[in-house]
Symmetry: C2
Subunit: 530 residues, 2 copies
Amino acid sequence: MQARRKVYVEGSRPDIRVPFAEVELAGENPPVRLYDTSGPGSDPEVGLPALRGPWIAERGDVAPVRGAGTPLAGVDGRRPTQLAYARAGIVTPEMEFVAVRENLPAELVRDEIARGRAVLPLNVNHPEVEPAIIGSRFLVKVNANIGTSAVTSSVAEEVEKLTWATRWGADTVMDLSTGKRIHETREAIVRNSPVPIGTVPIYQALEKVGGDPVKLSWEVFRETVIEQAEQGVDYMTVHAGVLMRYVPLAVERVTGIVSRGGSIMAAWCLAHHQENFLYTNFRELCEILARYDVTFSLGDGLRPGSIADANDEAQFAELRTLGELTKIAWEYDVQVMIEGPGHVPMHKIKENVDLQQELCQEAPFYTLGPLTTDIAPAYDHITSAIGAAMIGMFGTAMLCYVTPKEHLGLPDRDDVKAGVIAYKIAAHAADLAKGHPGAQDWDNALSKARFEFRWEDQFNLSLDPETARAYHDATLPAEPAKTAHFCSMCGPKFCSMKITQELKEYAARGMQDKSTEFVESGGKVYLPLA
Amino acid sequence: MQARRKVYVEGSRPDIRVPFAEVELAGENPPVRLYDTSGPGSDPEVGLPALRGPWIAERGDVAPVRGAGTPLAGVDGRRPTQLAYARAGIVTPEMEFVAVRENLPAELVRDEIARGRAVLPLNVNHPEVEPAIIGSRFLVKVNANIGTSAVTSSVAEEVEKLTWATRWGADTVMDLSTGKRIHETREAIVRNSPVPIGTVPIYQALEKVGGDPVKLSWEVFRETVIEQAEQGVDYMTVHAGVLMRYVPLAVERVTGIVSRGGSIMAAWCLAHHQENFLYTNFRELCEILARYDVTFSLGDGLRPGSIADANDEAQFAELRTLGELTKIAWEYDVQVMIEGPGHVPMHKIKENVDLQQELCQEAPFYTLGPLTTDIAPAYDHITSAIGAAMIGMFGTAMLCYVTPKEHLGLPDRDDVKAGVIAYKIAAHAADLAKGHPGAQDWDNALSKARFEFRWEDQFNLSLDPETARAYHDATLPAEPAKTAHFCSMCGPKFCSMKITQELKEYAARGMQDKSTEFVESGGKVYLPLA
């Protein structure tokens, strides 16, 4: 990526410096600036610089919870959330940062957050993060899941996957660790992450009770949420919509309950014959999240896990409950997004977005895929990129990636990259379809480079410059081929773009009665391999 | 694929034997039969058996053109086309073959062919082919392009790619060879192909005139078409819609004319200041194709090659002309399909199908992708699988694959597989969205196997069993893991499907006042690694 360099655009004050990846192009072509999630780069032993440190401090609404050097939380009943500020009409530096990043007015950012249609997941204890906005009026975002499991992988590997995921464009990362050392892994991830970090606290709570869902309790969960909020987790998946009465609707499905959190809560409800403690204690949970500005990601514990189960009563019953919970969270100035499926055939995708927008008052939708068929394990980054692109077009704000290893094993480094790339494609295709201002500039710059045989520019503008270059070089490796006015696909005689360029020159000279002239010069409608 | 075996379903006569891949499943689960394009297997030196030999012979409408042992063609002004028979109310063995293959009534097949809404590309000189039907009422088909180029690759490699492509599910294969030995390559491909073969005759015609488009003529083209028809090519792309007056519309685009055939014909038209000879000689071309039952694939020479150029006047002007040519071809009982784009953002895809169906009287649409963004060279199998799935859902009958090497180089074996798999996913996702009868049975069988932890069944039902198995084994290689009721993703404690199964058993015993019992037995909501 030699021709890509990081540049910063300054906002209204010198400490608002928004990163972009600038691609230099040949000749008269202006450079292209791309949204950049890679962060400033960190030494894992040290962590990233605290970009937001001054912004958090100067608002004076937080203080260390247990004296100097301990984590921050809201003081005096104040809610240090971006939603509270947006509602108060205040444009925070974080809002200005994303306005510059998205090339949109800061007032639009503030207004979308205020009405709950966008979220800025930014824990007061995660000053290292570069703010990113999630909402249907903004660029479609991509989340990458990483995390250790009981069976495999290490902390260092997961930090490496985090860095790798943001390098390829992940806008947020969820740490889904379930094995030993959950706390330690998360600490390493948060301190090194330039993007918002999400978690599913029930996983750690379950570890604390020895892995038996029946032994879970509100107390253990609350303690876990506070522990994670103090570390700086920016958003948390909470399966508060899995109500006892919905469970029978789900167990008779082809694939039952496929959400881990959903199945854990369902097991708890049935064992205790009591309502989900996340639901019954939801207001207290809101008070806790408000103190740290942790954003809710209301989990879809009953999402369909197969084509057969899509859009069924269990799924939509839970969605209605998530809509009610959204209103409650907003009472506490807590930001909310809503998680969505899963496995959905193409003709049933739009209904998901329409219902979610209606039932959840346009809170941002955050979906896993959806996979549009069940038949291709090992290729579910593709089965789901199809669904993700479509659901993004219909208004979903963030797409949770799926890797080739989905259903089969834990993703390694290559799988993380494959998942992120497939989802960056889906997200950008959705941005184009939504007519997002400026989205098509990237396509146009790349296509113009392609048409003009500026191979290096084409590579450098690619989502994955290295692979594009490597694929080209696999058949025509020599350096002169990078300036050739054809490629190995058609060879010199059949290059349609070369021929069109000649036609264009011909047309420019006037097409009337020029046929003789064209025939004379037209022996050269292709450029022989020199 | 040990648990997959080829089975044959017999039609009304013993020589109608339709292949399926039957997947044996564990326990009480009935076997699943999948559409099978892999053919009977051939020795490249010998070629495939002549399945259709007796069917062609018994109709008595063809004879060797130059005495015994020479290629066949219609005799006495008869048109030995499937369209002619369908219109005459006759169900041919070929029609019955595809009716069995698609599990639909033979009369529906005949009727769809008769009204031009489906094609059965079956040259009388290609008896080796297993008939496959292309039409919006049938399973969405996938085409794979192969072929030598001036710069690289050999005949043996291309035959190997053909076999490889049909193994993974290609329904037709186009031989786009452009280098030396075009005739020899094509002969090897046709003799070894169990699927219909398509070509673009203008490529060979251009080779015959030394590579200079200006030197092309109707005579050279006609000679080439006859040469290829006599070899057994089942369908031919003909760029007869690139009219002289459309060329100026295209040259000012961001990416001009990206179809090789389109650019060649545009260059010819402008050089001679004459109308496209494929258009002016179209009726004679119909007479030729009718003699061999070669199907027209009316080429979209002006398809958009970038997001910026999608759905523009050049593209749709040509489409109107293709609609006129369709009616003319039908006068001669020649089957027709219509080629489509290309590069199209998601929100402009449906308009392509709607216009094509209207302007071309519902003749089958056959599209290249479309790619839904230009920014991801090296991943255009994915950018285009998104568009392909959507355009399939809207009614496109066949999807021409795009490989990861698109725009960069010639596909190798791995690229061919990646392209075919991505497109089988798109096609099947479209079949599901269209509610094709029985399409979802495959998904249901796989999801049920997944839910019941029948790992081997899940692998064997996969589009790519080998890769699914390899990915699973990468983290949990031991044989016992294949019967484990969890996998490496979540480990035993977090397996939502395991928990649901227990909930299901619990629910079956009645949910009222059973909580104590569940708690007693519920210490086992997970199965420890035994």
